[in-house]
Symmetry: C3
Subunit: 310 residues, 3 copies
């Protein structure tokens, strides 16, 4: 999330208790978790395993729980007893939750020719383009951006929070999401789908992509253009689906993967690794369809084969 | 979809640019895609592979992109540069989308003793029978027909559009659905289900059938009487489920299949072929349960078997 | 369900036609199906297979369709031609369905600091604790109890009826649910989930447990504390999930099972048996992950192995 303004570090120090221990930067203009950082951002790191990733990232300022770490790019370090919680505090400060007072927020913008059917909920600062049809009882959380000629069917939820928690032993602490959902032109989304907002970046549904009913698109997923995603498909956090991918019903795709352009994933597949484009995949775990079917054919023969060998 | 009136072909020619090139009929009384045609209908065909199917169907009038095709039944042919788009234009003309102006349309009829809980949306020309309970936030799109003693749980969507697109290379063109959902007497539907309307025919849920939460029933599916369909099941377009079929949780059934009477499909199965009735099925792809379990038992032994052979 | 008062048997006899045939008790204070009975309850039994279970249970009064059965604990027996229907009649009498007249029932209690977003439906006698956020279009059926600091995302349905029917040959007769949903403190539930009420007992989501979008939790399921349940998971009726269990996306768990503490169930698994805690499971049917992966590795080799042996 970019803030749209420059915030000096001493302002941050009024929100969270941190010491500036090194580095030259004296301000930030964005707050992002490590997967989405760019110059000007503050991010956080709280595990030695990720120190180097954070300190070598594009982030200008890093909230960290250890001093005396190699800092080759001279990032500005904010020493914190609990970087995760301090990061969450910043998000909450700069993007506070504002309860709604009407079905359609006065801060939302709705384009010409767009039809909102009854009981549609449009959150704060949502933007909806022209000539869309939003069917009844659709819920669009704050800050979503929806293009032109988009259709969203009834009871779909756009922009719920990321399913992202830090295990504190006695409880889970929620990462507060401040990302957005961006739905490009000519996208159509079925009924009772869920498309979560990004943790700090955007969940993006590319132009002309069509999603059938009861689909789940997790936080930070980026779907390309002209994809077809059949009913009850689930795509886990931060996975990238390139253009013109086809995913058939009830398939599931794990987090942090990339599915190449024009890949075809059969119904009920479970994808646990990134897949090259232009090929057909099947199975749990998904593998090339031809190979998977060869294995299934062999399995058909196995009982008799083993019986003969006894 | 039958129109309930006779429309002369010269009326169609004011809506779409087509030439009448042969045949005797001079009017239509219905608009249907090829899977649902009956006498009096106009349909369309735009691929040589399906010319004969269309020209030998019951349709009286065929929108087609080629002259000089064998036409043994002397169907009336309307020559079009783009039969798909012209067909869609006719659907849109005769069944235009009419935005709602109230939660319950003034054109809907609600039977005696039926309870609509808060925020139920009842579309235009919907008919709901007697003694039903429609729980909160259910959305029923236009033209659905619901029988007596039906229960529909919260947040379910009845009658969203078919997931049916024509790939135009640069984009997908949506088939505009004009079919209905018909829910017969004593059906009960769980929470957060989706039951799509037919493309031009009807999606039918037979009397006394019960569907659990988060089920997906696609366009044109016909489900028989006294079926039990557990949670999170998905049934793809135009599949027929005969009477007294039991489908357990998270199973999926592909499109255009027939599942025979009293078949039992185990949880998580993926059905890719039509299945005979009276038997039990399991697996992805689903096969007879006994066979599937014999294969699983053999697979259990395989690692040790292969190790010994090395 | 406990009634909160003592009801004499002659009161029951005004509601259902039964003869008292033996036993000393002359009143009840609860109505429960056999899985949830405690002292003071009336329950029912209508199949010889379960007579002994019912007559040896803690229930004080049993509606039964046969006299002259061994009754070692001297339970009071009510002879009925149709125990199932008579039991249902009692439930309907003591817990009648009361249509709502407002989005938030006047009989509901909402704690301080709790935010109800637009179009939330809160049923009769629902209790919601402090500092909760209930997002738009959530539906909470009657009698649910929700703790403090709970978050429920949009379009989720809490407390729909159990999917539980008696097959009468010509039709299915619905068991009328009178149980509750209990959601403990700090639970968070994603968008478009369904959590059904118990048949007569409670569906419980333990403190600090987090459930992602499109999850299905059936009637009477008891989930422990600090569990993580990813998107599109389904858990069937009366299964117990102990504390700190992790269930990944699209997994399904059959009814009446127990999943031990700290078990981890991989995505897309289908659990058909109870599982010991502290281990990792995978597959359909789910087995220990290491074993399942050994089998998958063997299956990869099988086609070439069989080819060489031909």
């Amino acid at each position: 999330m970019k803030l749209g303004r420059i915030v000096p570090l001493n302002k941050l120090q009024k929100i969270i208790e941190v010491d500036i221990i090194e580095g030259e930067a004296d301000s930030i203009d964005g707050i992002n978790e490590i997967h989405k950082v760019s110059e000007g951002d503050v991010t956080f790191v709280d595990h030695p395993k990720y120190y180097q990733k954070a300190l070598n990232s594009a982030a200008t300022v890093v909230i960290i729980d250890k001093a005396d770490v190699p800092n080759p790019l001279n990032r500005t370090l904010l020493l914190s007893k609990d970087p995760f919680s301090d990061y969450v505090k910043l998000v909450q400060y700069f993007r506070p939750f504002t309860p709604m007072t009407a079905n359609v927020s006065a801060t939302a913008t709705i384009g010409e020719g767009t039809i909102l059917q009854p009981n549609v909920i449009v959150g704060n600062h949502v933007s909806i383009g022209k000539n869309c049809v939003i069917h009844p009882n659709v819920v669009i959380y704050d800050h979503a951006i929806i293009g032109d000629h988009v259709v969203i069917h009834a009871n779909t939820t756009i922009g719920a929070d990321a399913f992202y928690y830090k295990n504190r032993g006695t409880h889970f602490e929620r990462m507060v999401s401040c990302g957005r959902v961006i739905i490009e032109d000519f996208v159509e989304i079925g009924a009772n789908c869920t498309i979560d907002k990004g943790v700090s970046g955007d969940t993006i549904i590319g132009a002309h992509t069509k999603i059938d009913n009861l689909g789940h698109i997790a936080h930070g997923v980026v779907i390309g253009k002209r994809c077809l995603i059949a009913a009850q498909v689930g795509i886990a956090g931060k996975t990238t689906i390139e253009d013109e991918v086809t995913i058939w019903g009830q398939a599931g795709i794990s987090k942090d993967l990339t599915i190449g352009k024009k890949a075809i994933i059969s119904a009920k597949s479970g994808v646990s690794k990134s897949l090259e484009g232009g090929k057909w995949y099947f199975g749990i775990p998904a593998r090339e369809g031809k190979k998977a079917h060869r294995e299934l054919a062999a399995l058909r023969m196995l009982p008799d084969f083993l019986k003969q060998r006894k």
